[in-house]
């Protein structure tokens, strides 16, 4: 293909875009809605994921040691646990620290403090708080901790592991199932939304080209090749995508700014505005990319049926 043909195709595409102002305007409007929905679903996905991760991160498993256990034994187990790949962190709470924490928490509760005094010694156990990469890995970790501690079939220093507590298990299972189904549902809703709006955009472009079907026929009869007829329409479609993409990106700026602090306090940490700014390239790529590809593909397919003469 020669340089002059490319130049002609682009010139024709730009001219049609400009001269068919109303059709262009309508197409851009519909496409902007589509891309806006695409952008919203990205935000929704991020929010959902963040919330779910937050929730799952709140889970940990605690191992409590008998008061007689020497500290170095606990630290050895801590090291062994930290060496495992699925473990993110292991926190150690010594007996003294546990006591301090207890005093702090019940500082207004005279009864509790009196009971403590009466015991005369520290009744609290030292513990390890283990956090795993994924919520499903706690069973293996609990098992591992228990195995490490077992000599000749009897536990030597571990008093109890919270994972084996029935209440803990129920809460954990419920959390897993809720977050899993939330994620699945979110994905389905997002897919349906995106597919619907893309179909609407697609149809709008088809209608726009339908209005040019007589012209396409004339071009054909005047002796123009299929590519030479089709390419300007694709240029036009790409222009719709570009313009709609930029409009959408511009719309998100004030919108996320406005919602920024609200989302930050509601979802515990994600500020959509700062997220938008820090991931601008991602948004640019996805939104403008979707628009451009949608415009090109829809035009390509819509012109095809009128070229068959």
């Amino acid at each position: 293909m020669s340089w002059i043909t490319i130049k002609r195709i682009f010139r024709a595409g730009f001219l049609d875009f400009w001269r068919n102002a109303f059709v262009s305007f309508a197409s851009i409007l519909v496409m902007t809605v589509t891309l806006f929905v695409v952008g919203l679903t990205i935000f929704a996905g991020v929010m959902l994921n963040f919330t779910i991760t937050e929730l799952r991160n709140k889970v940990d498993v605690s191992v409590y040691f008998l008061t007689t256990t020497p500290e170095d034994r606990i630290l050895t187990l801590k090291q062994a646990l930290e060496a495992r790949p699925e473990v993110v962190s292991v926190g150690y709470l010594s007996r003294d620290e546990a006591l301090a924490k207890f005093r702090e928490r019940y500082k207004d509760d005279q009864l509790a403090l009196q009971a403590l005094e009466e015991l005369g010694q520290n009744p609290l156990e030292a513990s390890l708080q283990i956090r795993a990469k994924d919520i499903t890995q706690y069973e293996a970790i609990a098992q591992f901790a228990q195995n490490q501690d077992t000599e000749n079939g009897t536990a030597t220093s571990i008093d109890k592991i919270s994972f084996y507590d029935a209440k803990y298990r129920v809460a954990l299972d419920r959390l897993v199932s809720i977050t899993d189904s939330a994620q699945r549902l979110g994905l389905i809703v997002i897919a349906i939304l995106i597919l619907t709006t893309i179909a609407i955009s697609f149809n709008t472009l088809r209608l726009a080209i339908y209005s040019s079907r007589d012209e396409i026929q004339v071009m054909r009869l005047v002796g123009a090749g299929a590519f030479f007829i089709r390419a300007p329409f694709m240029v036009e479609g790409v222009l719709y995508g570009l313009v709609s993409g930029v409009i959408t990106l511009l719309l998100f700026y004030p919108l996320t700014w406005w919602l920024g602090s609200a989302t930050a306090s509601f979802f515990g940490g994600v500020n959509v505005f700062t997220y938008y700014l820090s991931h601008f390239l991602l948004f640019f790529g996805v939104i403008v990319g979707t628009g451009v590809i949608l415009g090109a593909v829809a035009s390509f397919l819509a012109v095809r049926r009128y070229l068959k003469i």
Partner: protein, 226 residues
Amino acid sequence: MIYYDRVSKIYADNSVALEDVSFSVEPGEFISIVGHSGAGKTTLVKMLLAEERPSSGSVFFESINIHELPLHRMGEMRRKIGTVFQDFRLLPQKTAYENIAFAMEAGGRSEQDIRSDVPHVLELVDLGDKMNNFPDELSGGEQQRVAIARAIVNQPDVIVADEPTGNLDPVNTFEVVQILKKINDLGTTIILTTHNKGVIDSLKKRVITMDRGKVIRDDREGKYIL
């Protein structure tokens, strides 16, 4: 040059548009095809442009069977045939100049050629001062002259004019016919369909008369007889 070989066209509902039509056109001829509406004139022309396919028989253009040509080579063939339609069929979003330039661009002609040839053909049809007007800013006669300019700009071997004067008043009809005659005098073959008696009688050229899909007369120097 053009040869219709026993061409028939029967539509799906069994209506017959053409029945066993055979005739040939020599280079440089000016041939008129006449007949009532529905006689098959337009179908005949559409066959030549491969806008319609025959149910049986074949149409040859310079010894090529048009309907055996693959779609991607159709443009090349069509650029050798200039077409003028009753309803002008200009591209509404393009100016007179651009409409004609488009036909040249489609053939891959250079910018230089376009810049020199387009004003030239527009002068030829007496529209040099309206080259930047859009079709809806031109009268019917002017639009048809733009269409003729578009048809001749690639210097085709043949021009097919399907009822070119059907939507025009007598003055414009006369002008269009004069232009076609002038083009014919320069050596281009013309195929004209019409049901305008005055046009045919003034031309004194070959006339093919059609009725209900059949050729009923073929006169060297014919008149409109129906």
